[in-house]
């Protein structure tokens, strides 16, 4: 197994991504992610300090919408898709932790 990513890092990343992995999955993912990162070594080692990043292929700027109200959609159509709706709102289990 490669040392490019550790089991602990995989567990940490899974927590960030809100995924739960069983012990076997952690092993498999550690190995598979390591393989992909191994391949990415070709760019990791590249000297591109003076190259600017490209986040987007299009050179567009300043695309704006005019501030005019458009009809909202019927909440019944949306709430009908909710796993649990109550009082025209989306019901969720208690939210622990702090508000952002």
């Amino acid at each position: 197994m490669s040392d490019r990513i550790t089991r602990d890092e995989v567990v940490h990343v899974a927590r960030l991504a809100r995924l739960e992995l069983g012990p076997d999955e952690i092993d498999a993912f550690t190995e598979q992610l390591a393989r992909v990162l191994e391949h990415a070594a070709d760019i990791e080692s590249l000297d591109v300090d003076d190259v600017p990043p490209t986040s987007h292929p299009l050179p567009l700027v300043n695309v704006f919408r005019t501030d005019e109200v458009r009809a909202s959609i019927d909440r019944r159509e949306v709430l009908a898709q909710a796993p649990w709706a109550e009082s025209d709102m989306f019901r969720v289990p208690p939210v622990l932790g702090e508000e952002p």
């Binding site: 960030l16 704006f64 005019t66 959609i73 989306f90 952002p100």
Partner: protein, 490 residues
Amino acid sequence: MSWSIEPTLPEGWELVVGLEVHVELSTATKLFCGCANRFGSEPNTNICPVCLGLPGSLPVINGTAVKYAMQLGRALLCDVKPAVMARKNYFYPDMPKDYQTTQYEQPTNSDGEVVLPDGFTVGIERAHIEEDTGKSTHIGGGGRINEAIYSLVDYNRAGVPLIEIVSRPCLDTIDHAKAYVSGLRDILLAIGVSDARMEEGSMRVDANVSVRPVGSDELRTRCELKNINSIRSMARAIEYEARRQIDLYTSGERPRQETRHWDEAAGRSTPGRSKENLDDYRFFQEPDLVPLVPTAEEIAAIDAAMPALPAARRAALVEASSADADVVATLVERGQDALALAAIGRGADADKVVTRLRHDLAVDDFSKVSAESFAALIVMETSGDLTATQAKQVLAELVDSGGDPRSIAAERGFEAMHDDELADLVDRLIADNPDEWQRFVGGHEGDRKKMQGFFIGQIMRATKGQADGRAVADLLAQRGRSPANGSPGT
């Protein structure tokens, strides 16, 4: 502006406060969709695929929101620069995409300042554009988030345009923090980009508080205070937090960097529960939006259309009147600085202008008082054509119905009552009322006061209120001291 008494911290400690102020922009629609930006609607009625973050939906940014942001940036004396939107990734049920679209490395506005009435300058690190979250109602557990049985989410507020104004950690007193928040609100109202109502949540303040020994310039561990819903609540929360931290240091402990929840009713803050969200927001450029690149012409147009802002208005009035900073601040807050400057410009005495405005125009609506009539009134008063009492009466009528102060004075039969006329009247009254006069010159403090009232009342009756009470009091005092009448108290 009312100045509370700054709470004193234990000797040897000083405050270091930075404020993060979130302001909802008063656009017609949300930041990325055409849903109404409206407070108080039925739950989940201002929603669409975009602000609900439904799969496949895409944002298109509201041009007016971006313009408002730049206006605010210029008002805060920021550099307004090309900006890119970014995603801040964390899970929260109020946030439909489970990331917040915001600005990170390249915000629209950076490096500004706000000058407070006393001249203290608050550095602004950045003022960036971002979207608001929805709102949860916590059911059970007294509505507290950590004790609720479940929560109900309403996404009407999700996607409402916000500006987050981040100050540098430079606020050194609670009064400065309060003055800064008031100052921001004044600026927001002046340029009209937000209604800035803390009670409705359209202006929200988080405070980063730390303390340090006086004279040190270190930045110690800070705590972030949330759930502050008024300026008063902010002041209490900061003071509580500062004392809490000082207590920790003096007992040999150290504060932990944490977010704390202010409980206004209990008058204390409590630490947030252990975090479900780890602090790794994985910011990256928002690929669904393109960069915002303001042109020089746009910025010039914003500057040209910028109304005079409170700090500049205060400076202009100080320059014209030499009045004290707090008096000037009051007049600017009441919006009377333009009237003052116009009257002074028309030759009215600056001191008298400021005095009359400060004491006799403390009213909500003074729109009928024109600069011309106000200046004429002050000139009449300072030239002795009107007594102070008469001037106040004319001013009251100007407030009610406007008009020309000369005709008002003439209608009321206010004639110039010059000093020698008043002196004659006073002498006559003294002669007519010897007993009262003796009680005035020879009595105790209480008697003297009572008799002063008697004489002023008599004069007022005789002059139908046209005499200046203060001038009468001065004359009485002067007569009382003169040897002919015997010095009181000798």
